[in-house]
């Protein structure tokens, strides 16, 4: 009798084709795309061999969009239409974005997220970011010669829910199947850990262009476990430029500057900063539009002293993360440095002094995040056989809570909780016959709601008339593997169920995304229907493949009737996939998903039982 081969649950039984998956580091200053080729992660360069894509987007009249070096070259001559460091505005309102006063844009205060008026119309940071992602997607498709099946996009670990959601939306808008949002320091830890086969507790110090993250991870064979994360999503290399810029304005006694001069001097400040990494003194010269010439020089001592407070500001989150993890400096086996801003000698010195050891710099701090993201994308795409892959356990960076009486924030899911996580909380009415309740979801560590970030407001209506305090409203907060929050609510006593969709406070509802998608397709002269059809087909084929392999492994978990129901849904989908009716395909996909729900649960139960039995099925 032939021996049956049983593969691991979740893994395809049939050898599937290699899926093209990429990792994208969507940075404040530069962005990169990487993939795993012949087992090794590589950054994909542009046609001129340049690995970085400056995160700069220029909107011209007549809908012309330039991204990267071309846009960067025009930032001083066309500052209003050339958007740099857009990441700082993702998911942010006008009042909580930093350096607004020194940014040469026409801001439009929109509910939740700030927008920018350009020659091509009003643009949201999501749209601007999607232009960067689109260029990277095209670069990858050209270089890999095929359609990208999925992408991992990295975000600062300290990004809140609104910033994460905005990033994911930008990915969708750029036509990417976003497999996962991955925290930047975690991505760096993957690249570093696998490269160096490291074990033990490591800290990742990630000072990017606009954000600072500090994550502490436990690395052990096959598992990357984030123990604590902390940071400042409004602190980065940009702030060092800004200090230098202010120093120059004061030193040269300049009058208030126009947009062009401001951008020019900021560029010069950045150049001087970079020069100081390798030299004791840097020139800082610029010819202003008035004809006046700024001719300054700054030595590294002065630069260190004007940026000392910024460097110190990074150490607060470092201490906090250590406390959260209940660890001491001596417990840390190594500190991985990530982000271009960690090249500054004063940063290296401060970190070395704090941790009492030399930081680790053996991977390029500009590339390490993209490389780690590519490795994770490769695993998520299922390109690595079980045993060679790894498990990643990440956490939520900021506590989630709801507003209670008196404007206080009640924490529901505390920071550093491993995700996915869920928590249900019961609420009740305080008036007789109260038929509705409104909820305000916030994120942050402070006690007052006004000091936290407002994520969403929603209302639960249709509570049947009851005495005050009799209703039992159960609100469930679910944080998924991307760190994104989903809230649902239902009233329990009466049996009436009401679920709610949470509209993000930053004001980008699904309808907005759809509109933007439509706009961008019109712009690209693509057919909306064709796009939808191709998306549903990909979905459908993926689901068929997954279902077939699940049936091949675990058909025995089903009785004849259940098997028939699934087979019918499979046949229906197969038939429709040959046609061109996008809606019918979508419905068939949904039907198959419904038909396999119970089956999926049973397979998962079985997986857990096998894990506990301690026996490797493959070794039987």
């Amino acid at each position: 009798m032939a021996l049956l081969q049983i593969s691991e649950p979740g893994m395809s039984a049939a050898p599937h084709e290699h899926r093209l998956a990429v990792g994208i580091d969507l940075g404040t200053t530069n962005s990169l795309v990487a993939t795993v080729r012949s087992g090794a992660p590589v950054v994909l360069p542009d046609s001129l061999g340049r690995p970085l894509l400056p995160s700069v987007v220029r909107y011209g009249a007549a809908g012309k969009v330039e991204v990267g070096y071309a846009a960067q070259a025009k930032q001083a001559t066309d500052p209003k239409n050339t958007i740099v460091s857009v990441k700082r505005f993702m998911g942010r309102g006008l009042k909580d974005a930093a350096h607004i006063e020194n940014a040469p844009y026409d801001f439009v205060d929109a509910p939740g997220m700030v927008q920018l008026r350009t020659a091509a119309g009003v643009k949201s940071p999501v749209e601007v970011s999607s232009e960067i992602l689109r260029v990277l997607r095209e670069r990858a498709e050209l270089s890999l010669q095929g359609e990208i099946s999925g992408a991992v996009i990295t975000v600062p670990a300290y990004f809140d829910d609104a910033q994460r959601q905005a990033t994911k939306d930008a990915g969708k808008l750029a036509g990417l199947n976003v497999l996962r949002l991955l925290n930047e320091p975690t991505a760096a830890a993957i690249a570093y850990g696998l490269e160096n086969a490291s074990e033990g507790i490591y800290a990742v110090y990630d000072l990017g262009g606009g954000t600072f993250d500090l994550s502490i991870l436990k690395l052990s064979r096959g598992v990357f476990e984030v123990v604590a994360t902390s940071g400042d999503s409004m602190l980065g290399g940009d702030d060092f430029d800004q200090r230098l810029f202010c120093w120059a304005v004061e030193k040269a006694k300049l009058p208030p500057l126009g947009a062009r001069d401001m951008r020019l001097l900021q560029m010069k400040a950045r150049e001087a900063k970079e020069y100081l990494t390798f030299h004791g003194e840097a020139p800082l010269t610029a010819r202003l539009s008035s004809g006046e010439v700024v001719d300054l020089a700054i030595d590294s001592e002065t630069f260190c002293s004007i940026t000392q407070t910024l460097v110190n500001k990074t150490l607060g989150p470092v201490r906090k993360a250590l406390r959260d993890a209940s660890l001491a400096v001596e417990d840390i086996k190594g500190v991985v440095m990530v982000g271009g801003a960690t090249r500054m000698p004063q940063v290296q010195r401060a970190v070395a002094e704090f941790f009492r050891r030399d930081p680790l710099n053996n991977l390029d701090p500009d590339k390490v995040v993209a490389l780690g993201a590519a490795m994770q994308a490769n695993v998520l795409a299922g390109n690595k056989p079980q045993g060679e892959d790894w498990l990643l356990l990440d956490v939520i960076p900021l506590s989630l809570g709801v507003e209670t009486m008196g404007g206080l924030a009640e924490k529901i899911i505390p920071r550093n909780t491993t995700i996915p996580a869920a928590k249900a909380q019961e609420f009740t009415t305080f008036k007789d016959g109260q038929s509705g309740m409104s909820f305000h979801v916030v994120q942050g560590e402070r006690e007052l709601v006004t000091d936290c970030r407002s994520l969403a407001r929603f209302e639960l209506k249709g509570i049947p008339p009851m005495a005050a305090g009799a209703a039992r409203i159960r609100v469930t907060f679910q944080v998924d593997a991307d760190g994104l929050l989903h809230v649902s609510a239902k009233e329990n006593t009466s049996g009436v169920e009401a679920s709610v969709a949470v509209k993000p406070s930053y004001g980008l509802a699904d309808a907005d995304i759809e509109r933007m998608l439509r706009d961008s397709f019109e712009h690209a002269k693509e057919d909306m229907h064709a796009r939808a059809l191709s998306e549903y087909r990909v979905d459908g084929r993926r689901l068929l493949e997954a279902t077939r392999s699940a049936l091949a492994q675990d058909e025995k978990l089903l009785d004849a009737k259940e098997r028939d129901a699934i087979s019918q849904a499979v046949t229906a989908l197969e038939r429709l996939l040959k046609g061109t009716d996008a809606r019918a395909i979508k419905q068939a996909v949904d039907a198959l998903n419904r038909a396999t729900e119970e089956f999926a649960q049973r397979r998962m139960d079985q997986g857990v039982r096998r894990a506990l039995s301690g026996k490797k099925i493959g070794s039987l």
């Binding site: 979740g10 497999l179 729900e597 998962m604 894990a611």
Partner: protein
């Protein structure tokens, strides 16, 4: 509903083997985690998220001494509504007052070393309480009797959290 211990195939003891717990947690996670199902259908992805959420919750509960003890007491029908029932022995409350005064003094002097010392003292007291809880639950099977020390441990946890925010205050 299965208890958190059953989920990991462990005996319901307060003094549990941390390594066994971690191993079981990782073994299950490696089967159910959403990263394993990124390309699967909606039904499997949803089931995976639900399972992972449940496993994370169970792990978090069992890792933490207070939560673990409360879970065991709950399994044995002991009322764990400690928050509303705060009668505590006088000597314990006096000691708490003393510790809080020390904390305030440290904050006023902006002295991180004093906070460190306070944390160490607290860690010692926690260990004693944990031993007492283990004794009551695992040896004597006296579940109602464990409620007292569990409540004390909760007090110390809260103080610990206050010390943590004090660090932020003086920084």
């Amino acid at each position: 509903m299965q208890s958190h211990f059953e989920l990991f195939g462990l005996d319901p003891a307060f003094g549990l083997d941390k390594e066994m717990l971690e191993k079981a947690y990782r073994d299950i996670q490696s089967r159910v985690h959403p990263d394993r199902f990124a390309h699967a259908g909606d039904a499997e992805r949803r089931a995976s998220m639900q399972w992972t959420t449940r496993v994370n919750e169970a792990f978090r509960t069992l890792k933490d001494p207070v939560q673990r003890a409360k879970h065991i007491l709950e399994l044995h029908g002991v009322d764990v509504a400690f928050e509303t029932n705060t009668q505590m022995p006088t000597d314990f409350l006096l000691r708490q007052l003393e510790l809080r005064e020390e904390l305030e003094a440290a904050v006023q002097k902006k002295d991180a070393a004093l906070l460190d010392a306070l944390r160490r003292a607290l860690a010692g007291e926690r260990l004693l309480l944990e031993a007492e809880i283990g004794e009551s639950i695992d040896k004597r099977r006296d579940y109602p009797g464990a409620a007292g020390p569990v409540r004390k441990l909760m007090f110390l946890d809260r103080l610990n959290a206050e010390i943590d925010s004090a660090y932020e205050e003086i920084e």
